[in-house]
Symmetry: C2
């Protein structure tokens, strides 16, 4: 009797699950759609609420739907299955990588954003931007209205080639393609190089959007622990042997979130290993111009043979304009351009003209000098205040806006971030950057965004709590 | 003896093929890379040249490499395998869809471009664009330097919602996400909705970049013949039954390349069929503002439940600025925004501000009035000159820039396009738009780009040839 009841329960349960799977398959329920409430589903299907609860739970465990606390169950979007599986059980929407990005993008001036990954608008070269726009208002009709060339402005690409040469990276203008952003450049490369199921190495910790981007490509992500002089080379070598990855994505000159700098010997070792195993590397160098002392570039050692080099002006000049670039092996450029045209058609044209103007008239150089000095002072002040609260920078960065900080023992960054958000302070908890979930005791601070006393009150409140 | 020779040949052949496959697999030969010449490969591997020719031919037949006439063999980029299989044997790089786009994007003022899909810069509202840039030069520091909000400017989205309402399409601003282009909007939707191997319906003929975009998503493309009042509904119904497609992508208000307009009864029938089979529809309405008499929109009939609506200002205002949008079912927007952030991070911010300015101050409305009048005159003049040469417009379009024209019997559009290119005239041969390859006797003319006598000399030369 007991057994047959169980079977009947199981049958009802499977009935509910297969009905929902069917509605998803025939797109009655589309990705992102909210599922009916437990109560109304139970009523509609003539089963008990507990059966529906169990069915939803099982479907969530399979990754078909997902639960958002307080909001209900939703059909999983293409990004989410891997998100659930790979970011680990400790994270919910409040501290997942995309959520931090969206909070930072959405926040008005009301919020303090020490967790945000860019400079405040007040740090940007306002007068120079205004001048560049007035100059653009006198450009040719073609510049104002036409699509850009397939690779983008030749004048800007030639200038970028000269600037890259100053970091030791040799690229002909014909090896450079302009994109709307550094992220878009990486996305195009992933589309060009990867298949679903391929494996990609990232640093642990790394820029959290790499996780989101790679999940969108449905690849396996493997993390390699990051040390103050670059990835742990032994673990890197192990990962190559164990996982045969196609690709490694990193920031080398100035690492996000740690602000660490690759040492020449680690750079050399990584390239040797990459050579032996046929690995391609994407070197995302969007913080290049924040650098104070020159650091090694993988692309400089390698000569753009298996290293692809990415840059952008969103972090240093304006995120409103949208202009990035990729420098790649010469024989990839035609394929990458075809892909850009197929998926986005034109590249940045007006934005490229603005960047070209700002780079040519000297205002960018002067602006970045000021930024570097200001950041150096802020790193010192903010670092001191954090240390005072027992929040310890992992390293003493030589440049950049980020302090990667360890919390006092026993404090959990995610809990802290949720608490801070109630006080209108957006923090960046460590595990958003860590594939292994081993950074629950870390926060990333942007020293340029710490000019708000609410940040330190919240931190004090939490760190000093009994 | 004969048999064992054959076997030895076969062994050598397989040796060459597997060596090349191996070099591609370990990325010694990367996508887009040129293969060694027949001669040097034969020498290096100690086999005859005919063995290498046979190996390359077989690898090309498998889609692993591809031949570019006169240039050699290249490792296939992700886009190419389907390109080879689906565009059909008659097309080569000279007339394939991406090549036409690139020619048009790359051409300087030296070329005449009747095959190009947009207006000349001289037709764009130059003074208004200059004014908008000067106004932007006085904007807030946030507008100049910050990322836009996750969905993009609320003011612009509210304005777009009002404009869509005038076409009968009801969308709340929260259902609209700004993108860098109409193409990017479609690409994001494809990423959101499709898996490799899914089937997608397109019109035959349709905008050629739909083919390139869908190939990048590795989906099966099925064409439905297009009639002067929309897709052939019987064939559409058959395609639904036979292929169970996930998605149908179309321009409804003003169809590219035919300039045909959907009739209300066809629109209704298509939506009924879509409803029955759970089909999602992307309605790409980037030519909306070229319309003279209001045509039905699928999104208006459907209320954005299974129809997603796309727009852009690249064709009507400036292709240099980069601003498009998507209006989607409300519960898709969060997932789409996550995907945009993961793959491109910021959306258009400065460009959105420029579009908002031009739409608000009345200059866009006046500009489009002028454009519509000018196009009406040009369609008449160019149509008359083409008819004079025996080149017959398929229909008499009510609006838009395109004349879809049938060549005199026996003339092949691809041959003609190659010939014209030698005279610096870029034509758009019919089969670039036709999945079935049934439009070899058609050319698409952009009447706004026909103000160059070289076009008619070339056409006369060819059509009047004995």
């Amino acid at each position: 009797m007991l057994i047959s009841t169980r079977n009947a329960d199981e049958t009802r349960l499977e009935g509910v699950m297969s009905a929902i799977r069917g509605r998803i398959a025939n797109r009655t329920l589309t990705p992102g759609a909210k599922l009916p409430s437990i109560r109304s589903c139970a009523r509609a299907m003539g089963v008990s609420k507990s059966t529906v609860v169990e069915a939803y739970d099982r479907l969530a465990a399979e990754g078909v739907i997902r639960s958002r606390p307080g909001a209900g169950f939703f059909v999983t979007a293409p990004l989410a299955p891997l998100a659930l599986a790979e970011i680990g059980p400790a994270l919910d929407r409040e501290v997942d990588p995309l959520w931090i990005s969206r909070q930072a993008l959405a926040s008005g001036s009301r919020m303090a954003m020490p967790g945000c990954g860019w400079l405040p608008a007040s740090w940007m070269p306002e007068d120079a931007l205004r001048r560049a726009l007035r100059r653009l208002s006198r450009a040719t009709p073609q510049t104002l209205a036409d699509y850009g060339a397939p690779l983008g402005s030749l004048a800007l690409r030639a200038l970028l080639a000269r600037r890259m040469a100053s970091h030791g990276v040799e690229a002909a203008p014909g090896q450079i393609m302009l994109t709307d952003s550094g992220t878009q450049a990486i996305d195009l490369l992933c589309r060009f190089l990867l298949k679903p199921g391929d494996t990609v190495l990232v640093d642990d910790p790394c820029y959290f959007n790499f996780h989101a981007l790679l999940r969108a490509h449905q690849v396996r992500i493997v993390g390699v622990p990051y040390t103050p002089s670059g990835p742990d080379t032994e673990r890197f070598a192990e990962a190559l042997t164990q996982h045969a990855p196609r690709l490694y994505i990193t920031n080398s000159a100035l690492h996000n979130p740690t602000s660490a700098v690759l040492s020449p010997s680690v750079a050399h070792r990584i390239l040797m290993l990459a050579e032996q195993s046929g690995l391609t590397i994407i070197e995302d160098d969007i913080f290049a111009d924040f650098e104070v002392e020159p650091a090694p570039r993988l692309a400089a050692f390698d000569g753009l043979s298996r290293v692809v080099y990415i840059g952008s002006f969103s972090k240093s000049l304006s995120a409103s304009m949208r202009c990035g670039f990729v420098a790649a092996p010469a024989d990839w450029i035609e394929g990458l351009t075809d892909l850009r045209i197929a998926t986005c058609f034109g590249g940045p044209a007006m934005a490229a003209e603005l960047v070209l103007g700002l780079l040519s008239d000297g205002s960018y150089r002067k602006h970045m000098e000021t930024v570097r000095q200001r950041l150096s002072r802020s790193r010192e002040t903010v670092g001191a205040r954090l240390r005072n609260l027992g929040i310890e920078p992992w390293i003493e960065p030589r440049a950049g806006m980020f302090l990667w900080c360890r919390l006092p023992d026993g404090l959990d960054a995610a809990t802290l971030a949720r608490h801070a958000l109630e006080r209108d302070v957006v923090l960046a908890p460590g595990n958003a950057f860590s594939l292994s979930g081993s950074a629950s005791g870390f926060l990333r601070f942007n020293v340029a965004q710490c000019d708000d006393e609410r940040i330190f009150s919240v931190l004090e409140e939490i760190t000093r709590a009994p």
